[in-house]
């Protein structure tokens, strides 16, 4: 492996890791507020990509300009899905049943996309999509850099909401101890619904980024769920910051293994990290004491 190829792999790894971070942040949030596994998250990412595609084609807007429409829409869908479906699961078997329920939601989303858009591959080809500039002897594509920037800004916004707003405090209190939060007057039902809405809203942003950097088809979302689940476990379930860090580490490791060994081995990186985490540090490497406590 030449030095320039190594640098290139690191650059691509960071760019990809940033996108992974954005996509995994919602998953981590769902688990944090509800202790549920949201299998349908990547399906919603793809729904987001398709909506972006439709708006882009119908109105000629840049994919990122569609966010003011798709983000609120996804927030509302998220609140509705939580209130109407997930909130009805019983506490004692919620984690298990949520897998079944969200799996079926994923199938419904996929089926709807197939019915409307057919099974064809869709993609958005922008003027800047295939352009790039040079940095330390590596090529940095604009579309991927934009993806990373959007991911960074979204995560920053999410982090600020959780850390500095009154709602964020209520949300964190709900995540840490639901009953105690209720005792001090937090409307935990509402906070949970809004938290779920925010999680799904990140899928709208992730979908827009996805639509810029890759082609998509209705059943493509199954390729993502395993990677994203591995990321949030390594990062520490319920920790948005931990998920972001884990995403970067895994993204870069995947890229280096891809050029150093082979793409076949690169697919194992996620599972290897998952196993190591479960064996040595089941609460996750980068934060979140949640998994241990609950």
């Amino acid at each position: 492996m030449t030095r320039s190829l190594f640098v290139q792999a690191i650059v691509f790894g960071v760019l990809t890791g940033g996108v992974y971070a954005l996509m995994a942040s919602g998953l981590s949030l769902y688990f944090g507020v509800m202790r549920i596994v949201q299998i349908a998250h990547p399906a919603f990412l793809f729904l987001g990509a398709y909506l972006t595609y439709s708006l882009h084609n119908a109105l000629g807007w840049d994919p990122l300009l569609t966010l003011p429409i798709t983000v609120p829409a996804f927030f509302l869908i998220g609140v509705a899905v939580q209130r109407l479906l997930l909130a009805r699961l019983r506490d004692e078997n919620r984690a298990m049943m949520s897998v079944l329920l969200t799996f079926s939601i994923a199938v419904v989303v996929e089926g709807t996309l197939s019915a409307i858009y057919t099974g064809s591959y869709r993609s958005i080809n922008l003027d800047y999509a295939s352009k790039s500039f040079e940095l330390f002897g590596a090529r940095v594509p604009y579309d991927r850099l934009i993806g990373l920037a959007v991911a960074g800004l979204t995560l920053l916004a999410l982090f600020s909401i959780l850390k500095y707003t009154r709602y964020g405090r209520a949300l964190r209190a709900t995540m840490q101890h639901r009953d105690a939060a209720r005792l001090v007057g937090v409307d935990t039902e509402r906070v949970t619904a809004v938290g779920f809405g925010i999680g799904l809203a990140t899928a709208a942003v992730g979908g827009a980024v996805l639509s810029i950097i890759t082609t998509f088809f209705p059943s493509g979302h199954w390729e993502w769920i395993a990677k994203l689940m591995a990321i949030i476990v390594v990062g520490g379930l319920g920790s948005v910051g931990g998920a972001a860090l884990a995403a970067l580490v895994l993204g870069v490791t995947e890229a280096v293994v891809q050029v150093w060994l082979s793409p076949v081995w690169a697919g194992m990186v996620f599972y290897l990290f998952l196993f190591l985490t479960l064996i040595f540090r089941p609460q996750g490497f980068f934060g979140g004491r949640l998994a241990q406590r609950f």
């Binding site: 099974g119 352009k131 890759t214 793409p263």
Partner: protein, 415 residues
Amino acid sequence: MPFAPRLTTDRRRLRRWAIGTGVLIGALPVAGLTAATTVPDDAGEPIRIGVSLPLTGDFSEPGEGIQQGYDLWAADVNAAGGILGRPVELIYRDDASDVNKVVSDYEQLISVEDVDFVFGPFSSRLVIPASEVAEDEQMVFLEPAGAAPEVFERGLEFLFYAAPAVADEHYDYLADYLTALPEGERPETVAVASMDDPFAQGTAYGLRDQLAEAGIEVVADEVYPPGTTDYSNIAAKIADTDADVFVGGTQFEDAVGLLRAFEELGYRPPYMAFSTGPTLPEFTEAVGDARNGILSPVGWSQEATFESNPEFVASFQETFDTDPHEDAANGYTVGQVLNQAVEAVGCADSSEECQTSVRDFIRDNEFVTVVGPLSFDEAGRPEQAHMIQQWIDGEVEIVLPAGSDVQTAELITRD
């Protein structure tokens, strides 16, 4: 009055008994007569053909394409009076692109539905397990999309691939062209990246091996799993070699992912060949101008003037209101071969006798199809060749074989 209903009932019972006995007695000699003569008792009954296709899942797009070809063929045959005077009926199962489901589908179609014939699914990955079922049941297995070398290396006797050439021969014309170039123009290095898929690898390795044999150095040879979501690092590794020829053993996503990443990396070798992806209508939307100069093998062309092809194109356009594609043409071809074989042999049922005679006829004869005249070797491999297409100025041109009727432009190098 209270007795009236009862009387009627009794009388009815009597009559029914009498009729029943009469029919039974009368039927005996008739049944003996039918067995003794060769008048087919199923005249007018539809010929039922069982198909399992990947209508959902990874292969749903080509699966539906094949289905359009099968449906159109059945409609055209039925409009022309059927086969042996019998209409054709297709019975579909959706295997969801799943290798286990495809096996149970064919087992069910053959043993429960008792179909007269079966047609194959899409892609080598599904054709390989499905064809084993048909072989066990001694059913002719004509298939539209199982071109990988492994398909023909299992000693099957009932399998036939109804397209012009098997995977590792798809690039034969391009290999001949590149190796025949004069010193100086001739490429010196080749890089290969292929999906871990028997068909995709078959195409790419066919070209790789022919180039390597001619002394062109293989400087990169990558394999990636299906379902890879990011191709930039694979592309970076290829671009790092700066090979003169790139060969992609691709489906669609990976062709687009690799080509986009090559553009971003500024890697533009003189010759770039991708399987499948560039022949699909979505390719332009996905890669824009980057498609110029891209080479692909293609088994069927809308412009080709082979007997029955112009009629197929017109019929497809009228039925589906859009231009036909290679998958539909391959499905249609399967139907055409069966049609001609059954008409010649004169039987259409699932008996071993009939299936064997249809099989022998297919193996020994040449068929008129939309992809050109078709014949098969002992293992069911087709014996013809694929054309090579190239995107030139936003149009698909047939560039090889040079000097043939189908050629529409000269092969160009990329910038």
